[in-house]
């Protein structure tokens, strides 16, 4: 069956809300999205012909919920992987509310759920270790393994983590950045930053044992100072005035 185009998928989603006959086309599109991570299209810089479509993946997950006999757990795992790569968006969270618990507790979805939890809690170095387990997971399909191992997938997550670091730090210790991005050393980090358009906009420079991030509103100390303390003389004046008024009233 020919892979449906992005426009075909838009039309499918507009026409039908829970039509089980669309399962095959939606599954085909999921595989096309995954293929764009490691297939020939991944080597080009142009827009993929099967871009990530959360609504299509969500629609398929719901169809699996409504028609369990049509459910394909390997496809569910691919959908969860695709949404994981969209961190920090809440796509994974939204889909996790639709995938049955018993499926989430089985491999490889269990590893994907753990990866999501680790990202949400910013345990980045543990995340990379767990993420790489997908590549050798016996329950994972070949597509899943290849997608997880693909440079495109790694680049996506790395970029999102780097962005969070850039929002939190103005200057970060290089060790923190290396372990969060799963990058070997300073040279590898410089190579990554120089070769990635998104990273270049986030990192100002890598300087010895520090990484300096581009200044943004979120990582810059605010210049406006709020005077939160009240001076004793101000309180004393108010107290004195109050006592004087009470005394006058008592007389």
């Amino acid at each position: 069956m020919a892979t449906p185009s992005h426009a075909d998928i838009i039309n499918i989603l507009a026409k039908s809300s829970a039509d089980p006959t669309t399962v095959t086309q939606l599954e085909s599109y999921v595989r096309a999205q995954v293929d764009s991570l490691y297939g020939p299209a991944a080597l080009t810089t142009s827009e993929p012909s099967s871009p990530y479509n959360f609504d299509a993946n969500r629609a398929l997950t719901k169809l699996y919920q409504f028609f369990p006999h049509l459910a394909d757990e390997s496809c569910t795992a691919l959908i969860l992987l695709l949404s994981l790569l969209e961190y920090p968006s809440t796509d994974f969270t939204a889909l996790a509310c639709l995938v049955p618990e018993r499926v989430q507790e089985r491999e490889p979805c269990a590893t994907l759920s753990r990866c999501s939890d680790l990202l949400e809690q910013s345990h980045f170095s543990t995340f990379w270790v767990t993420f790489r387990e997908l590549i050798i997971n016996d329950s994972a399909s070949e597509e899943l393994k290849m997608a997880a191992a693909s440079p495109a997938a790694v680049r996506k997550v790395r970029g999102s983590i780097l962005n969070l670091l850039g929002l939190t730090y103005k200057v970060a210790p290089i060790g923190t950045v290396l372990s969060a991005l799963d990058v070997k050393d300073e040279a590898a980090l410089k190579e990554y930053v120089n070769g990635d358009d998104i990273a270049k906009k986030i990192v100002e420079n890598v300087d010895g044992d520090k990484v300096v991030f581009v200044s943004r509103e979120e990582n810059t100390k605010k210049s406006r100072v709020f005077k939160e303390a009240v001076g004793l003389d101000a309180i004393a004046a108010a107290l004195a005035k109050g006592c004087h008024t009470a005394t006058a009233a008592g007389q």
Partner: protein, 574 residues
Amino acid sequence: MADHVPPPDDALLPGPLKDFIFDLHDTSRRSHLPTEQTTLYHTTFPTLTSKYFATTPWPSPRSVSTECGGDKLFLALYTELTARHLHTVSRPSVRDRIAGWVVYRNLFDMLLEHVESVAAGVAAGSTAQDNDDDAGLYLLPEWSFDVLHEFVYQFQGFCQFRTATFAAAARTSYSSSESDGADGGGGGGGGGSKKTPSPHVMESLRVLSDHRDAWAVESVLDYLHRFVRAGCGAPPSASATTNSASPASAATRLSEVIARAGLAYRHLGLFASVALSRLECLLGDYTASLKALGPVFDVTAPLIVPPIPPGGGDDPTGGSGGGVGVGGGVGGSGALTPLDFVNSVTPARISLSYHASISYLMLRRYRDATSTLGTIATFMQRGFKTGQLRRDPHSDQYGRQYDRILALLAILGHVCPTSDIVEEGVMRVVRDRHNGQLNKIDSGEEGYEDLFLFACPKFISANVPDYSRILAPAVEGGGGAGGAAATTTSTNATNAIPTGQDAYRLQVRQFTSEMEIQSTLRKLRSYMKLYTSIDVAKLAAFNDVREEELVQILLTCKHKTRQVQRCDGVSLST
């Protein structure tokens, strides 16, 4: 000897009942008078019900058909109205639930066939004169909402009934299989009594199995989507490929359809949007729940103009009543935007706000959830104080809904404190009611889950179970191999025994896992509020963690405090 002439079907009907049917038909199909229909729907119907049919069904449609000229569409509406009453006074059996589906299917097929044929005619360029014999349909906004609200309510009840019945049967069957397997024999020879589910449960399962199409989720969703399309126009993505896709032409076409088919379809379209949002929330699809509200918040949508009484002035639509204005903006003559229209029906307003807020909460859009709940809580608080809500026909439910809204605000105020969104009067009530619970959470105990369990909707599982697992005859194994096979099968089956609460547990699990993370951030936030700047080592010491762990918590805090938020003037669904 004179031939025996059977008495007319309505011979035994009380006079007031006949008048009620006649008048209700007249207002919905001919005169389209809102004030008269309001009296009939809100006063006359309950009065007649309590006087003649307090615990019994209303007369059959056939008995009353002469009062409405045998109008099939009206009789379908009458059937739904009276079946709704019966649902409230009796506990429905499985057959009653199936019958309820038949009622809605008949009604919706008729309504949608009518409006879709009108829409096809408009698209083909036919004139209004081609449909002269069609009187159009007018239903009060409250009536339109009640139909769709009850539809989703009965679907929800059916799913819960089906899931619970199947789960109960499965537990009985599989636990007896386990004990047989443990005895080491096949089904026939071994010791231990073989339990089957009760006859009542088996009968229910058989009926459900024979009517698998009843309340099928794809059909339920299809009906709601079709009402939305008919009453609000197709969504932009679907019409983008057609030639006449401009919003202005789409609005004109919609106005023409509503003018011919009747204002009821506009009402039904908007309330179907609210009902769809609720249904998607119950299914756990929070993104779809918010998207479904698109038509309600569409600022470019035509206004809703109330019907004009006969002889009451120029009718801009050329019909006997009002209709749909063309163009956006707030108009005069009582014209309402779709949002104002939905808000004019209190139960619809509460349902919309509540389910949208649950969706925001589960998608971690806490400020949007707080804003939505704060607005509705303020409205309800004022309504209780002035007595306005207590006079409403649905007032018995408002108290409970208000309590749930306050519980949700307690969670949100604790997780994402905001000082500028919710009125102080409402927050004071939240603190008074839930301070104890929140103090427990502050001291490290679990408390969010209890609040959520109280406040959350009854989530449902919509899939049709595999009835053959229970209804198919048991395989009688003999000897060791058969026994072993039976044991293996029962083990696999045990692993898959449905609990009847799976859908509910999934949502609660998602919520609590998110709250566990939020709890770790709360202590950190309280220290950060006290300082303009503080050393990382010192902050780590305050939080009883190592510096490396504190860095992770700080990153998590930064991540969690960034959330998608709706801008003013933009749809609730974005």
